[in-house]
Amino acid sequence: MKNDYNSMYDKLCPQKSDDELLQAVLTGKADNMNIKHKKKTIIIPALIAAALCATTVGVSAANDWKLTGAMSNVMQNIFGKKNELQPADKDFTEYGFENLRGKELSDVIDCGEYKIALKGVTADKYTAFIVYDIVFDKDFDHKLKDGEEWCALLNQTDSNRTEWLSEFYRKQGNQPNPFSYSQNEFLGMDGNIAHCYTEVANSIPLQDKTLELVSHGLYRRSAKAPYIGKEIDCSNDEFSITFDFDTSASSKTIEPNSKISVDGASEGKITYLSVSPFGLMINIVWDDSEKMGKIDYEDSEELDKIINETFRVKFKDGTEKDISAFDDDGWNTLVSYDDFGMAEKAENSMFPHWKYPVNVDDIVSVTLCGQTFEFD
Protein backbone atom coordinates (compact mmCIF):
# COMPACT_ATOMS: atom_id res chain seq x y z
CA MET A 1 0.00 0.00 0.00
CA LYS A 2 2.82 2.37 0.89
CA ASN A 3 4.39 1.84 -2.52
CA ASP A 4 1.09 2.57 -4.25
CA TYR A 5 0.62 5.66 -2.13
CA ASN A 6 4.05 7.03 -2.98
CA SER A 7 3.73 6.16 -6.63
CA MET A 8 0.32 7.87 -6.70
CA TYR A 9 1.73 11.11 -5.34
CA ASP A 10 4.81 10.92 -7.53
CA LYS A 11 2.47 11.25 -10.48
CA LEU A 12 0.79 14.39 -9.22
CA CYS A 13 2.13 17.69 -10.38
CA PRO A 14 0.80 21.20 -9.95
CA GLN A 15 -0.96 22.69 -12.95
CA LYS A 16 1.19 25.76 -12.77
CA SER A 17 4.82 25.78 -13.77
CA ASP A 18 7.37 27.20 -11.35
CA ASP A 19 7.52 30.37 -13.44
CA GLU A 20 3.76 30.80 -13.39
CA LEU A 21 3.67 30.37 -9.63
CA LEU A 22 6.47 32.88 -9.19
CA GLN A 23 4.64 35.38 -11.32
CA ALA A 24 1.38 34.76 -9.49
CA VAL A 25 3.00 35.30 -6.09
CA LEU A 26 4.76 38.46 -7.17
CA THR A 27 1.70 39.99 -8.77
CA GLY A 28 -0.90 38.55 -6.44
CA LYS A 29 0.64 39.78 -3.22
CA ALA A 30 -0.48 43.37 -3.54
CA ASP A 31 -4.01 42.35 -4.47
CA ASN A 32 -4.33 40.06 -1.51
CA MET A 33 -3.08 42.74 0.84
CA ASN A 34 -5.64 45.20 -0.44
CA ILE A 35 -8.40 42.72 0.19
CA LYS A 36 -7.06 41.77 3.59
CA HIS A 37 -7.32 45.30 4.86
CA LYS A 38 -10.89 45.77 3.74
CA LYS A 39 -13.29 45.65 6.64
CA LYS A 40 -17.03 45.50 6.87
CA THR A 41 -17.32 44.67 3.23
CA ILE A 42 -20.14 42.44 2.24
CA ILE A 43 -18.83 40.40 -0.61
CA ILE A 44 -21.46 39.48 -3.08
CA PRO A 45 -21.10 37.01 -5.91
CA ALA A 46 -18.71 38.29 -8.49
CA LEU A 47 -21.18 38.33 -11.29
CA ILE A 48 -23.73 40.40 -9.45
CA ALA A 49 -21.05 42.94 -8.75
CA ALA A 50 -19.78 42.80 -12.27
CA ALA A 51 -23.27 43.35 -13.52
CA LEU A 52 -23.62 46.33 -11.24
CA CYS A 53 -20.89 47.96 -13.23
CA ALA A 54 -23.10 47.65 -16.27
CA THR A 55 -25.87 50.01 -17.22
CA THR A 56 -28.04 51.10 -14.34
CA VAL A 57 -31.64 51.90 -15.06
CA GLY A 58 -34.45 53.37 -13.05
CA VAL A 59 -36.46 51.21 -10.68
CA SER A 60 -39.94 50.68 -11.95
CA ALA A 61 -40.88 47.15 -11.03
CA ALA A 62 -42.40 45.73 -7.90
CA ASN A 63 -43.92 48.92 -6.58
CA ASP A 64 -45.61 47.18 -3.69
CA TRP A 65 -42.51 45.49 -2.53
CA LYS A 66 -41.76 45.64 1.20
CA LEU A 67 -38.44 44.74 2.73
CA THR A 68 -39.96 43.33 5.88
CA GLY A 69 -42.23 40.95 4.02
CA ALA A 70 -39.51 39.83 1.64
CA MET A 71 -37.00 39.20 4.39
CA SER A 72 -39.57 37.31 6.42
CA ASN A 73 -40.00 35.03 3.43
CA VAL A 74 -36.25 34.59 3.24
CA MET A 75 -36.03 33.72 6.91
CA GLN A 76 -38.87 31.26 6.61
CA ASN A 77 -37.24 29.68 3.61
CA ILE A 78 -33.83 29.37 5.23
CA PHE A 79 -34.69 28.47 8.77
CA GLY A 80 -37.79 26.52 7.91
CA LYS A 81 -35.82 24.32 5.51
CA LYS A 82 -32.91 23.92 7.84
CA ASN A 83 -35.04 22.72 10.69
CA GLU A 84 -37.74 20.89 8.84
CA LEU A 85 -37.47 17.91 11.13
CA GLN A 86 -38.05 19.98 14.22
CA PRO A 87 -40.99 22.12 15.20
CA ALA A 88 -40.31 25.77 14.48
CA ASP A 89 -40.32 28.27 17.30
CA LYS A 90 -43.64 30.05 17.37
CA ASP A 91 -43.64 33.16 15.24
CA PHE A 92 -39.91 32.83 14.72
CA THR A 93 -39.97 34.44 11.32
CA GLU A 94 -41.65 37.65 12.36
CA TYR A 95 -40.10 37.67 15.79
CA GLY A 96 -36.66 37.17 14.35
CA PHE A 97 -36.90 39.46 11.42
CA GLU A 98 -38.19 42.49 13.29
CA ASN A 99 -34.78 42.73 14.87
CA LEU A 100 -32.56 42.17 11.89
CA ARG A 101 -32.58 45.81 10.87
CA GLY A 102 -32.39 45.27 7.15
CA LYS A 103 -31.62 47.96 4.63
CA GLU A 104 -33.39 48.57 1.36
CA LEU A 105 -31.34 48.72 -1.82
CA SER A 106 -32.26 50.29 -5.12
CA ASP A 107 -29.65 49.08 -7.61
CA VAL A 108 -31.02 47.79 -10.88
CA ILE A 109 -28.93 46.05 -13.49
CA ASP A 110 -30.09 45.91 -17.05
CA CYS A 111 -29.32 42.52 -18.56
CA GLY A 112 -31.22 42.95 -21.81
CA GLU A 113 -34.11 40.53 -21.68
CA TYR A 114 -34.48 41.04 -17.97
CA LYS A 115 -33.35 43.32 -15.18
CA ILE A 116 -31.93 42.39 -11.83
CA ALA A 117 -33.14 44.59 -9.02
CA LEU A 118 -31.25 44.35 -5.74
CA LYS A 119 -33.94 44.96 -3.18
CA GLY A 120 -32.56 44.67 0.30
CA VAL A 121 -29.86 43.32 2.55
CA THR A 122 -29.71 42.14 6.10
CA ALA A 123 -26.55 40.97 7.76
CA ASP A 124 -24.71 40.36 10.95
CA LYS A 125 -20.98 40.13 11.29
CA TYR A 126 -20.88 36.68 9.79
CA THR A 127 -23.49 36.38 7.10
CA ALA A 128 -25.47 38.50 4.70
CA PHE A 129 -28.74 37.83 2.95
CA ILE A 130 -29.49 39.81 -0.18
CA VAL A 131 -32.96 39.87 -1.68
CA TYR A 132 -33.30 40.58 -5.37
CA ASP A 133 -35.88 40.41 -8.10
CA ILE A 134 -35.48 39.34 -11.68
CA VAL A 135 -37.79 41.51 -13.71
CA PHE A 136 -38.57 40.22 -17.18
CA ASP A 137 -39.66 42.35 -20.06
CA LYS A 138 -43.38 42.00 -20.53
CA ASP A 139 -43.00 40.37 -23.96
CA PHE A 140 -40.32 37.94 -22.82
CA ASP A 141 -41.59 34.40 -22.54
CA HIS A 142 -40.56 33.88 -18.93
CA LYS A 143 -43.34 31.41 -18.20
CA LEU A 144 -41.60 28.64 -20.09
CA LYS A 145 -39.07 28.18 -17.36
CA ASP A 146 -39.26 27.13 -13.77
CA GLY A 147 -38.80 29.96 -11.29
CA GLU A 148 -35.80 28.45 -9.60
CA GLU A 149 -33.92 28.32 -12.84
CA TRP A 150 -34.46 32.00 -13.31
CA CYS A 151 -32.78 32.73 -10.02
CA ALA A 152 -29.68 31.11 -11.43
CA LEU A 153 -29.66 33.74 -14.15
CA LEU A 154 -27.26 35.69 -12.04
CA ASN A 155 -24.70 33.09 -12.86
CA GLN A 156 -25.10 33.77 -16.54
CA THR A 157 -25.11 37.50 -16.82
CA ASP A 158 -21.85 37.35 -18.69
CA SER A 159 -22.02 34.57 -21.24
CA ASN A 160 -18.42 34.98 -22.32
CA ARG A 161 -17.16 34.52 -18.81
CA THR A 162 -19.37 31.51 -18.26
CA GLU A 163 -18.05 30.05 -21.46
CA TRP A 164 -14.39 30.38 -20.73
CA LEU A 165 -14.79 29.36 -17.11
CA SER A 166 -16.64 26.28 -18.27
CA GLU A 167 -13.82 25.56 -20.65
CA PHE A 168 -11.32 26.06 -17.86
CA TYR A 169 -13.16 23.64 -15.60
CA ARG A 170 -13.53 21.15 -18.42
CA LYS A 171 -9.79 21.17 -18.94
CA GLN A 172 -9.35 20.56 -15.24
CA GLY A 173 -11.51 17.50 -15.56
CA ASN A 174 -14.26 19.01 -13.42
CA GLN A 175 -17.84 19.77 -14.18
CA PRO A 176 -18.44 23.45 -14.90
CA ASN A 177 -19.78 24.70 -11.62
CA PRO A 178 -17.74 27.77 -10.90
CA PHE A 179 -20.26 29.73 -8.88
CA SER A 180 -21.53 27.22 -6.40
CA TYR A 181 -20.22 29.29 -3.53
CA SER A 182 -23.42 31.23 -3.31
CA GLN A 183 -26.91 29.87 -3.14
CA ASN A 184 -29.43 31.65 -5.30
CA GLU A 185 -32.85 30.67 -4.07
CA PHE A 186 -36.31 31.17 -5.47
CA LEU A 187 -39.04 32.66 -3.28
CA GLY A 188 -41.91 33.10 -5.69
CA MET A 189 -43.16 34.51 -8.97
CA ASP A 190 -45.33 37.58 -9.21
CA GLY A 191 -46.37 38.30 -12.79
CA ASN A 192 -43.17 38.90 -14.71
CA ILE A 193 -41.10 39.23 -11.55
CA ALA A 194 -39.17 36.38 -9.93
CA HIS A 195 -38.35 37.00 -6.27
CA CYS A 196 -35.02 35.51 -5.22
CA TYR A 197 -32.41 35.79 -2.51
CA THR A 198 -28.81 34.84 -2.04
CA GLU A 199 -26.80 34.09 1.06
CA VAL A 200 -23.24 35.27 1.12
CA ALA A 201 -20.54 35.14 3.73
CA ASN A 202 -19.00 38.19 5.20
CA SER A 203 -15.56 38.60 6.65
CA ILE A 204 -15.39 38.85 10.40
CA PRO A 205 -13.92 41.98 11.92
CA LEU A 206 -12.33 40.70 15.12
CA GLN A 207 -10.79 43.35 17.33
CA ASP A 208 -7.87 44.69 15.37
CA LYS A 209 -7.82 42.10 12.63
CA THR A 210 -10.06 40.63 10.01
CA LEU A 211 -10.51 36.90 9.66
CA GLU A 212 -11.07 36.08 6.04
CA LEU A 213 -13.68 33.37 5.89
CA VAL A 214 -14.80 33.78 2.35
CA SER A 215 -13.29 30.70 0.86
CA HIS A 216 -15.59 30.91 -2.12
CA GLY A 217 -15.48 34.65 -2.36
CA LEU A 218 -13.21 37.32 -3.55
CA TYR A 219 -10.12 36.20 -1.70
CA ARG A 220 -9.99 32.80 -3.26
CA ARG A 221 -10.86 34.00 -6.71
CA SER A 222 -8.19 36.60 -6.53
CA ALA A 223 -5.60 34.00 -5.78
CA LYS A 224 -6.79 31.93 -8.67
CA ALA A 225 -7.01 34.73 -11.19
CA PRO A 226 -3.48 34.57 -12.56
CA TYR A 227 -3.92 31.14 -14.00
CA ILE A 228 -7.57 31.31 -14.90
CA GLY A 229 -6.67 33.82 -17.54
CA LYS A 230 -6.24 37.48 -18.14
CA GLU A 231 -9.67 38.12 -19.55
CA ILE A 232 -10.88 39.02 -16.10
CA ASP A 233 -9.18 40.62 -13.17
CA CYS A 234 -10.87 39.03 -10.21
CA SER A 235 -8.82 41.03 -7.75
CA ASN A 236 -10.28 44.31 -8.88
CA ASP A 237 -12.51 46.11 -6.44
CA GLU A 238 -15.32 46.13 -8.95
CA PHE A 239 -16.00 42.58 -7.83
CA SER A 240 -17.02 43.59 -4.37
CA ILE A 241 -19.50 46.04 -3.05
CA THR A 242 -19.39 47.76 0.26
CA PHE A 243 -22.89 48.38 1.44
CA ASP A 244 -23.51 51.25 3.75
CA PHE A 245 -24.80 48.86 6.31
CA ASP A 246 -23.90 48.83 9.96
CA THR A 247 -23.78 45.20 11.04
CA SER A 248 -22.99 46.20 14.60
CA ALA A 249 -26.43 47.78 14.97
CA SER A 250 -28.02 44.40 15.36
CA SER A 251 -25.39 42.86 17.60
CA LYS A 252 -24.15 43.19 21.14
CA THR A 253 -20.49 42.89 21.92
CA ILE A 254 -18.42 42.82 25.07
CA GLU A 255 -14.70 42.36 25.65
CA PRO A 256 -14.63 40.90 29.14
CA ASN A 257 -11.08 39.58 29.43
CA SER A 258 -12.36 37.19 32.07
CA LYS A 259 -10.55 34.02 33.04
CA ILE A 260 -12.08 30.64 32.43
CA SER A 261 -10.91 27.19 33.37
CA VAL A 262 -11.29 23.86 31.62
CA ASP A 263 -10.86 20.72 33.71
CA GLY A 264 -9.46 22.96 36.42
CA ALA A 265 -6.17 22.93 34.59
CA SER A 266 -5.13 25.13 31.70
CA GLU A 267 -6.75 28.47 31.79
CA GLY A 268 -7.73 31.00 29.24
CA LYS A 269 -9.49 34.28 28.87
CA ILE A 270 -12.65 35.05 27.01
CA THR A 271 -11.64 38.22 25.25
CA TYR A 272 -14.55 38.79 22.92
CA LEU A 273 -18.18 37.85 23.00
CA SER A 274 -20.68 39.00 20.41
CA VAL A 275 -24.30 38.03 19.90
CA SER A 276 -26.26 38.79 16.75
CA PRO A 277 -29.62 37.69 15.34
CA PHE A 278 -27.94 34.95 13.30
CA GLY A 279 -25.20 33.77 15.55
CA LEU A 280 -22.65 34.16 18.26
CA MET A 281 -18.95 34.71 18.31
CA ILE A 282 -16.67 33.76 21.15
CA ASN A 283 -12.97 34.43 21.21
CA ILE A 284 -10.75 32.63 23.71
CA VAL A 285 -7.05 33.24 24.32
CA TRP A 286 -5.45 30.33 26.15
CA ASP A 287 -2.65 30.79 28.66
CA ASP A 288 -1.08 27.56 27.55
CA SER A 289 -0.37 27.35 23.85
CA GLU A 290 -0.73 23.56 23.95
CA LYS A 291 -4.36 24.04 24.85
CA MET A 292 -5.01 25.35 21.39
CA GLY A 293 -3.78 22.14 19.82
CA LYS A 294 -6.17 20.18 21.98
CA ILE A 295 -9.09 22.26 20.81
CA ASP A 296 -8.46 21.76 17.17
CA TYR A 297 -11.60 21.68 15.11
CA GLU A 298 -11.38 17.95 14.60
CA ASP A 299 -10.18 17.12 18.10
CA SER A 300 -13.34 18.41 19.53
CA GLU A 301 -13.79 16.34 22.66
CA GLU A 302 -12.79 19.13 24.93
CA LEU A 303 -14.65 21.69 22.91
CA ASP A 304 -17.78 19.57 23.12
CA LYS A 305 -17.32 19.42 26.84
CA ILE A 306 -17.16 23.17 27.11
CA ILE A 307 -20.22 23.58 24.97
CA ASN A 308 -22.41 20.84 26.30
CA GLU A 309 -21.76 21.24 29.97
CA THR A 310 -21.25 24.91 30.49
CA PHE A 311 -22.86 26.88 27.73
CA ARG A 312 -26.09 28.78 28.44
CA VAL A 313 -27.76 31.87 27.02
CA LYS A 314 -30.23 33.61 29.31
CA PHE A 315 -33.11 35.74 28.01
CA LYS A 316 -35.10 38.55 29.62
CA ASP A 317 -38.16 36.38 30.11
CA GLY A 318 -36.11 34.08 32.31
CA THR A 319 -35.75 31.28 29.76
CA GLU A 320 -32.38 29.74 29.00
CA LYS A 321 -31.09 28.16 25.83
CA ASP A 322 -28.27 25.64 25.62
CA ILE A 323 -26.41 24.05 22.77
CA SER A 324 -29.60 22.66 21.30
CA ALA A 325 -30.61 26.19 20.23
CA PHE A 326 -27.76 26.22 17.72
CA ASP A 327 -27.15 24.65 14.40
CA ASP A 328 -25.02 21.54 14.74
CA ASP A 329 -22.69 22.66 12.00
CA GLY A 330 -22.12 26.05 13.52
CA TRP A 331 -19.68 25.14 16.27
CA ASN A 332 -16.64 25.45 14.15
CA THR A 333 -13.50 26.55 15.84
CA LEU A 334 -11.16 28.80 13.99
CA VAL A 335 -7.62 29.21 15.14
CA SER A 336 -6.42 32.74 14.76
CA TYR A 337 -3.41 32.92 12.53
CA ASP A 338 -0.74 35.51 12.39
CA ASP A 339 0.29 37.20 9.15
CA PHE A 340 2.23 34.15 8.08
CA GLY A 341 -0.55 31.67 8.60
CA MET A 342 1.12 30.27 11.68
CA ALA A 343 -1.07 29.31 14.60
CA GLU A 344 1.34 30.69 17.13
CA LYS A 345 -1.24 32.52 19.15
CA ALA A 346 -3.15 30.26 21.48
CA GLU A 347 -6.42 31.73 20.40
CA ASN A 348 -9.69 30.17 19.31
CA SER A 349 -12.76 31.71 17.80
CA MET A 350 -16.11 29.95 17.69
CA PHE A 351 -19.13 31.14 15.78
CA PRO A 352 -22.23 29.02 16.22
CA HIS A 353 -25.39 29.89 14.30
CA TRP A 354 -28.77 30.09 15.94
CA LYS A 355 -31.29 27.66 14.58
CA TYR A 356 -33.69 30.58 14.33
CA PRO A 357 -32.96 34.31 14.34
CA VAL A 358 -33.23 35.91 17.78
CA ASN A 359 -33.72 39.37 19.13
CA VAL A 360 -30.42 40.27 20.71
CA ASP A 361 -32.10 42.88 22.89
CA ASP A 362 -33.72 39.99 24.73
CA ILE A 363 -30.40 38.39 25.64
CA VAL A 364 -29.31 39.02 29.19
CA SER A 365 -26.19 36.92 29.55
CA VAL A 366 -24.01 34.14 28.20
CA THR A 367 -22.46 31.58 30.54
CA LEU A 368 -19.40 29.60 29.58
CA CYS A 369 -16.95 27.58 31.68
CA GLY A 370 -18.41 28.78 34.94
CA GLN A 371 -18.29 32.44 34.02
CA THR A 372 -21.38 34.48 33.26
CA PHE A 373 -21.02 37.41 30.91
CA GLU A 374 -23.80 39.93 31.10
CA PHE A 375 -24.93 42.27 28.35
CA ASP A 376 -26.34 45.67 29.16
Partner: protein, 164 residues
Protein backbone atom coordinates in the same frame (compact mmCIF):
# COMPACT_ATOMS: atom_id res chain seq x y z
CA UNK B 1 12.94 37.73 0.93
CA UNK B 2 14.00 38.68 -2.57
CA UNK B 3 12.31 37.53 -5.76
CA UNK B 4 15.44 35.52 -6.56
CA UNK B 5 15.19 33.70 -3.21
CA UNK B 6 11.54 33.06 -3.84
CA UNK B 7 12.29 31.65 -7.27
CA UNK B 8 14.93 29.40 -5.74
CA UNK B 9 12.58 28.00 -3.12
CA UNK B 10 9.73 27.59 -5.60
CA UNK B 11 12.07 25.51 -7.73
CA UNK B 12 12.96 23.36 -4.75
CA UNK B 13 9.62 22.93 -3.03
CA UNK B 14 6.76 23.78 -5.35
CA UNK B 15 5.80 20.19 -6.05
CA UNK B 16 6.20 19.08 -2.44
CA UNK B 17 4.04 21.91 -1.12
CA UNK B 18 1.41 21.24 -3.75
CA UNK B 19 1.31 17.54 -2.96
CA UNK B 20 0.98 18.20 0.75
CA UNK B 21 -1.88 20.65 0.17
CA UNK B 22 -3.51 18.16 -2.18
CA UNK B 23 -3.20 15.41 0.40
CA UNK B 24 -5.21 17.51 2.85
CA UNK B 25 -7.77 19.33 0.70
CA UNK B 26 -7.99 16.60 -1.97
CA UNK B 27 -8.94 19.05 -4.66
CA UNK B 28 -6.54 20.27 -7.31
CA UNK B 29 -7.79 23.84 -7.63
CA UNK B 30 -7.86 24.35 -3.88
CA UNK B 31 -4.41 22.84 -3.55
CA UNK B 32 -3.13 25.31 -6.13
CA UNK B 33 -4.60 28.16 -4.12
CA UNK B 34 -3.08 26.93 -0.88
CA UNK B 35 0.24 26.45 -2.60
CA UNK B 36 0.24 29.97 -3.99
CA UNK B 37 -0.75 31.47 -0.65
CA UNK B 38 1.99 29.52 1.12
CA UNK B 39 4.61 30.98 -1.20
CA UNK B 40 3.03 34.44 -0.80
CA UNK B 41 3.66 34.10 2.91
CA UNK B 42 7.19 32.92 2.27
CA UNK B 43 7.77 36.00 0.15
CA UNK B 44 6.56 38.14 3.06
CA UNK B 45 8.73 36.31 5.56
CA UNK B 46 11.54 38.41 6.95
CA UNK B 47 13.51 35.68 8.67
CA UNK B 48 16.35 33.60 7.27
CA UNK B 49 16.68 29.87 6.92
CA UNK B 50 19.89 28.12 7.88
CA UNK B 51 19.30 25.38 5.36
CA UNK B 52 16.75 24.65 2.62
CA UNK B 53 15.27 21.90 4.79
CA UNK B 54 14.32 24.52 7.38
CA UNK B 55 12.52 26.46 4.71
CA UNK B 56 10.75 23.29 3.60
CA UNK B 57 9.59 22.59 7.16
CA UNK B 58 8.41 26.20 7.50
CA UNK B 59 6.51 25.98 4.24
CA UNK B 60 4.94 22.68 5.27
CA UNK B 61 3.80 24.17 8.54
CA UNK B 62 2.19 27.09 6.76
CA UNK B 63 0.65 24.76 4.16
CA UNK B 64 -0.92 22.54 6.81
CA UNK B 65 -2.40 25.58 8.53
CA UNK B 66 -3.67 27.15 5.34
CA UNK B 67 -5.23 23.89 4.21
CA UNK B 68 -6.96 23.34 7.52
CA UNK B 69 -8.08 26.93 7.60
CA UNK B 70 -9.53 26.56 4.13
CA UNK B 71 -11.49 23.49 5.13
CA UNK B 72 -12.78 25.23 8.24
CA UNK B 73 -13.85 28.31 6.36
CA UNK B 74 -15.66 26.20 3.80
CA UNK B 75 -17.54 24.54 6.61
CA UNK B 76 -18.33 27.92 8.05
CA UNK B 77 -19.74 29.31 4.86
CA UNK B 78 -21.91 26.24 4.52
CA UNK B 79 -20.87 26.02 0.92
CA UNK B 80 -20.78 22.81 -0.99
CA UNK B 81 -18.36 20.18 0.11
CA UNK B 82 -15.05 20.10 -1.66
CA UNK B 83 -15.29 18.23 -4.87
CA UNK B 84 -12.74 15.51 -4.26
CA UNK B 85 -12.20 14.50 -7.83
CA UNK B 86 -9.45 12.25 -8.92
CA UNK B 87 -6.77 14.51 -10.38
CA UNK B 88 -7.03 14.88 -14.11
CA UNK B 89 -4.53 13.20 -16.42
CA UNK B 90 -2.93 11.43 -13.49
CA UNK B 91 -1.95 8.16 -15.06
CA UNK B 92 -3.09 6.33 -11.95
CA UNK B 93 -3.29 2.57 -11.98
CA UNK B 94 -6.52 0.95 -10.85
CA UNK B 95 -5.10 0.36 -7.38
CA UNK B 96 -3.87 3.92 -7.08
CA UNK B 97 -7.24 5.29 -8.12
CA UNK B 98 -8.95 3.16 -5.52
CA UNK B 99 -6.40 4.21 -2.92
CA UNK B 100 -6.92 7.89 -3.75
CA UNK B 101 -10.65 7.52 -3.27
CA UNK B 102 -10.18 5.68 -0.01
CA UNK B 103 -7.72 8.18 1.42
CA UNK B 104 -10.18 10.95 0.49
CA UNK B 105 -12.61 9.45 2.97
CA UNK B 106 -10.21 9.98 5.86
CA UNK B 107 -10.54 13.16 7.93
CA UNK B 108 -8.09 15.86 6.75
CA UNK B 109 -5.92 15.66 9.85
CA UNK B 110 -5.36 11.95 9.20
CA UNK B 111 -4.44 12.63 5.58
CA UNK B 112 -1.86 15.22 6.59
CA UNK B 113 -0.23 12.92 9.12
CA UNK B 114 -0.08 10.02 6.67
CA UNK B 115 1.33 12.15 3.90
CA UNK B 116 4.03 13.76 6.01
CA UNK B 117 5.04 10.47 7.59
CA UNK B 118 4.93 8.07 4.67
CA UNK B 119 5.52 10.24 1.63
CA UNK B 120 7.73 12.98 2.98
CA UNK B 121 9.43 10.74 5.49
CA UNK B 122 9.21 13.09 8.45
CA UNK B 123 9.45 11.68 11.95
CA UNK B 124 6.57 11.86 14.37
CA UNK B 125 8.45 14.51 16.32
CA UNK B 126 8.96 16.63 13.20
CA UNK B 127 5.29 16.32 12.26
CA UNK B 128 4.32 17.34 15.79
CA UNK B 129 6.52 20.42 15.48
CA UNK B 130 4.97 21.29 12.14
CA UNK B 131 1.38 20.90 13.20
CA UNK B 132 1.84 22.34 16.68
CA UNK B 133 0.59 19.20 18.33
CA UNK B 134 1.96 16.71 20.81
CA UNK B 135 4.03 13.73 19.73
CA UNK B 136 1.54 11.43 21.41
CA UNK B 137 -1.30 12.99 19.41
CA UNK B 138 0.50 12.37 16.11
CA UNK B 139 1.41 8.82 17.11
CA UNK B 140 -2.19 8.08 17.95
CA UNK B 141 -3.39 9.75 14.78
CA UNK B 142 -1.06 7.73 12.58
CA UNK B 143 -2.14 4.52 14.24
CA UNK B 144 -5.80 5.39 13.82
CA UNK B 145 -5.29 6.49 10.23
CA UNK B 146 -3.54 3.22 9.39
CA UNK B 147 -6.26 1.24 11.09
CA UNK B 148 -9.04 3.11 9.30
CA UNK B 149 -7.33 2.81 5.94
CA UNK B 150 -6.73 -0.87 6.46
CA UNK B 151 -10.35 -1.53 7.31
CA UNK B 152 -11.63 0.48 4.37
CA UNK B 153 -9.23 -1.07 1.86
CA UNK B 154 -10.03 -4.58 3.02
CA UNK B 155 -13.75 -3.90 3.03
CA UNK B 156 -13.61 -2.53 -0.51
CA UNK B 157 -11.51 -5.49 -1.59
CA UNK B 158 -8.76 -3.23 -2.88
CA UNK B 159 -6.06 -5.08 -0.98
CA UNK B 160 -5.86 -8.35 0.82
CA UNK B 161 -4.13 -8.85 4.16
CA UNK B 162 -0.84 -9.86 2.53
CA UNK B 163 -0.47 -6.68 0.54
CA UNK B 164 -1.22 -4.30 3.37
Amino acid sequence: MTAADLEHYIGLFHKAVYRLALSIVHNEAEAEDVCQNAFCKLFDYNGEFEAPENCKAWLFKVTVNLSKNLLKSMRFTRSDELDENIPANNGFTENETALWETVAKLPPKYRAAIHLYYYEGYSVKEIADMTGEKVSAITTRLARARERLKKMLLREGIYDEKRL
